[in-house]
């Protein structure tokens, strides 16, 4: 079975803490995700996502605080709009939009975080390795 690589951009205040909680609670989930801690999910520039794909990531997960809970008050609203627009553009590039995922995980949701990574890994296994560009 293909083992996909996932880059996970996790916000410092909620989702990274959720991943931490999943770890300290010894919740099992696939090791396919490599975490990158960012201060806020809105720090994730669409350019970062494209760079991840170009450098061999099969999927990108952006995880932040639930709407209304952003440490910086409104960062995650911007993240959501950027995500919706980027997803549409990825489709135009012929990249399956399921390769980019946005999730909200609070610092108490270690279980949810593990479930999200598990689901995404399973989905990417069925999608197989990412294909970009090609042609002469």
């Amino acid at each position: 079975m293909y083992e996909p690589k996932i880059i996970g951009f996790l916000c410092n205040w909620c989702s990274y803490a959720a991943a931490d909680l999943a770890g300290t609670s010894r919740i099992q989930y696939p090791s396919n995700m490599r975490a990158i801690r960012v201060m806020c999910s809105s720090r994730v520039d669409p350019e970062h996502v494209l760079r991840a794909f170009v450098n061999g990531a099969d999927g990108v997960l952006i995880a932040g605080c639930h709407p209304g809970d952003c440490h910086y008050i409104s960062g995650n609203y911007k993240t959501e709009r950027k995500y919706v627009l980027l997803r549409e553009m990825l489709e135009q590039f012929g990249i399956d939009p399921r390769r980019l995922r946005l999730e909200w995980c609070s610092s108490a949701e270690g279980g949810k975080f593990a479930q999200v990574v598990t689901e995404m890994t399973e989905e990417l296994k069925t999608l197989g390795p990412i294909e970009l560009g090609a042609g002469d």
Binding site: E47, L50, R81
Partner: protein
Amino acid sequence: MDKLKFAFYWAASCGGCEIAVLDIDEKILNVVEKADIVFWPVALDTKYKDVEAFQDKYIDVCFFNGAIRTSEHEEMAHLLRAKSKTLVAFGACACFGGIPGLANVSDRDEIFDLVYRELPSVSNPDKTTPQLTYTAPEGELTLPQFFDTVKALHQVCDVDYFLPGCPPTPEMIEQAVTAIFEGTLPSKGSTLAPEKALCEECPLEIQEKKIPFIKRPYQVTPDGKRCLLEQGVICMGINTRAGCGARCIKANMPCRGCMGPTPEVADQGAKLVSAIASILGVEGEERMTEKEIEALIAQIKDPLGTFYRYTLPISLLRRKVIKK
């Protein structure tokens, strides 16, 4: 002092860059006073074999416009590179792939199918598409290969300077030519245009950096005072290089990015996704449902074609995935 030797070439281009050279008006006389033009397919009866006969580095400055679309363009890029001391990517197509680069959302098979088979005005009973070779009674005929992917000039050969714009303005051309004559060109690899963003030279006024909605240019009558983005028209001036004097904006049209991205930006489209989505629909964002956000974003028609209008071939992804 010997006269400098100039050459001009067009690859996949519309011809606008050739006209732009003449747009420097009577100053063209100063140019021909100091330089001989040794190759210029649009204006002089010079042949490729003449260029092949030149010694290496014979041409002092070659202005190359147009993107790389066929094997002929690629061959000429390599040939002119070898024969030129200085190679200038002239215009948006040579610098970034330009408008022809938008064809990277398609590929050779799709384009040939449409152009030679499917269009209602085409009569082609044998369904023939261009072939690389054809044996006629008189001998073998050949055509250049049409590539799947359009490229910018620096993606096929070494480029010394970039002169962006669609086309470069007469002022920019004049400054570049003056720098060549006076020997004041900047370091190799430079773009011969300012480093700041177009907003710096835009005459319109920014009031609140918020976009309530997105409309297409024909749906809006700009008031001529306020930032076009704030009036709901997508303007790419925020991360497009300045140097054009905001000509389009002065004519009430938004910037479409022909000067290419500012030096800090690696991928113009991705940065625009970030910038536009961040300021679109800020008012009441905390009450917006997922459906409302999707409807808001759906107001942006064809994000890829809009945000990468001139720069798709030099973007991170470069082209659409070809499924074969």
